[in-house]
């Protein structure tokens, strides 16, 4: 341990649910995106799932909203170090979309892409089983554009760069394919509990998320 002379840090409050190396951002919700916020309204938005599926499908705003509503109440964690507790997102579970397209048994990974061209890769298992959403509401109101509105991917058990803003689609693959930040040095999976921040960080074993 490399102790820093004279550094005490903030008063320690045991905060269950705070992954290693993270701090509680409180009421802040920092905006982190490397691109221009697009001028994208609900009428311009669509969401497609294709690749290794039986029936590729595209939903527009109304068709997506016709699926059963599902909310996430919990925490989110950003690779830059902040975590945000007790947030509420509304939308639809990705399981409801997958029920329509029916993934092939050979599908193991996914690439999520945005209306702006951003991509991020995920194991398919991280998108199923009630752990991922297409979200269009935040705190009871519409999701703000700078946070990915009108709709974003939400995978709260992974670092938040995996939750692609302005989500446009997901392509299922039988192999892993690095996305935008993963090609720029970030970890392929991004599990906050294993501190999988950068490429080269350990692959980890705590699948208890």
């Amino acid at each position: 341990m490399n102790v820093t002379r004279g550094f005490t840090g903030r008063p320690r409050v045991h905060r269950p649910g705070l992954p290693p190396g993270q701090y509680d951002a409180g009421d802040d919700w920092p905006v982190l995106s490397a691109e221009v916020t697009p001028d994208l309204g609900p009428g311009d938005w669509s969401f497609r799932i294709d690749g290794l599926v039986e029936r590729p499908h595209t939903w527009d705003w109304d068709a997506a909203h016709a699926l059963p509503a599902s909310a996430y109440d919990g925490d989110i964690h950003c690779v830059t170090g902040w975590s945000k507790f007790g947030v509420r997102f509304g939308g639809v579970s990705l399981d409801a979309f997958f029920d329509v397209v029916r993934p092939h048994g050979s599908a193991t990974h996914a690439v999520a892409y945005s209306h702006t061209g951003y991509t991020t890769n995920l194991p398919l298992a991280d998108l199923t089983g009630g752990r991922a959403w297409i979200a269009w509401e935040y705190g009871g109101g519409p999701l703000p554009a700078e946070h990915g509105g009108p709709a974003r991917l939400l995978v709260p058990h992974l670092y938040f760069w995996k939750s692609a803003k302005w989500i446009a689609g997901i392509t299922l693959l039988d192999h892993d394919e690095p996305g935008f930040w993963e090609r720029n040095g970030y970890h392929a999976r991004g599990n906050p509990w294993d501190e999988q921040r950068y490429s080269g960080d350990r692959d980890g074993d705590s699948d208890c998320d």
Partner: protein, 239 residues
Amino acid sequence: MPGRIAVSEGAAAVWQTATLTEIRRETPRATTFRLAVPEWAGHLPGQHLMLRLTAEDGYAAQRHYSIASAPDDSGHIELTLDHVPDGEVSTWFHTVARPGDTVEVRGPVSGFFAWPGDRPALLLGAGSGVVPLMSMVRHHRARGLTVPLRLLVSARSPQELIYAAELGAETTPVFTRSAPRGVPVGRMAAAHVAPLLTEPPEGGWEAYVCGSNAFAEHASRLLVAAGQPVDRIRIERFG
């Protein structure tokens, strides 16, 4: 959105000990900290690093900071940090740190905001958002590059303009609260950006925007309105 620079996997994964060698006050709020990092693998202008401070009881705080120095400053890097009220890491730097102290760093990380010096660069920054842009300006000078480079930088006042003495003909400062006699006061506007885009250099600008989210939203909209392609605008938002 375009890709950019592949980042060395090894360098980003390993924590290295960095020794503070020099502290330079820049403005009443911002100070530069020079660090010796003997095993530093090098960086590109615009990249950042992760820095970690560890308390006696093992508590560690880590933050991302943009690198201010140009590459090739052999074995040294510089960070310029604002003193954030209640900021546990920046408060240590501004009130405790002295030469000889050690901290830990890993990086550089992320190649997206990096500028290798290959394309004309139009840089828009506000406050401490000028830090990664200054690495680019320093790189441009140190290498004697002839590729066009322009910096528009917003500060509240001349006293709060970081690196004021180092900024040269490539720079247009914009002052939002108070300015020298004869210089207008106001936020960055189309009038600052438009002239640079009506006569862009051959191949067009690669635009780099860095500052608060509010500034980044404002400045990137100015660029788009002036005709800069959205896929040639790179943004680094501080909080």
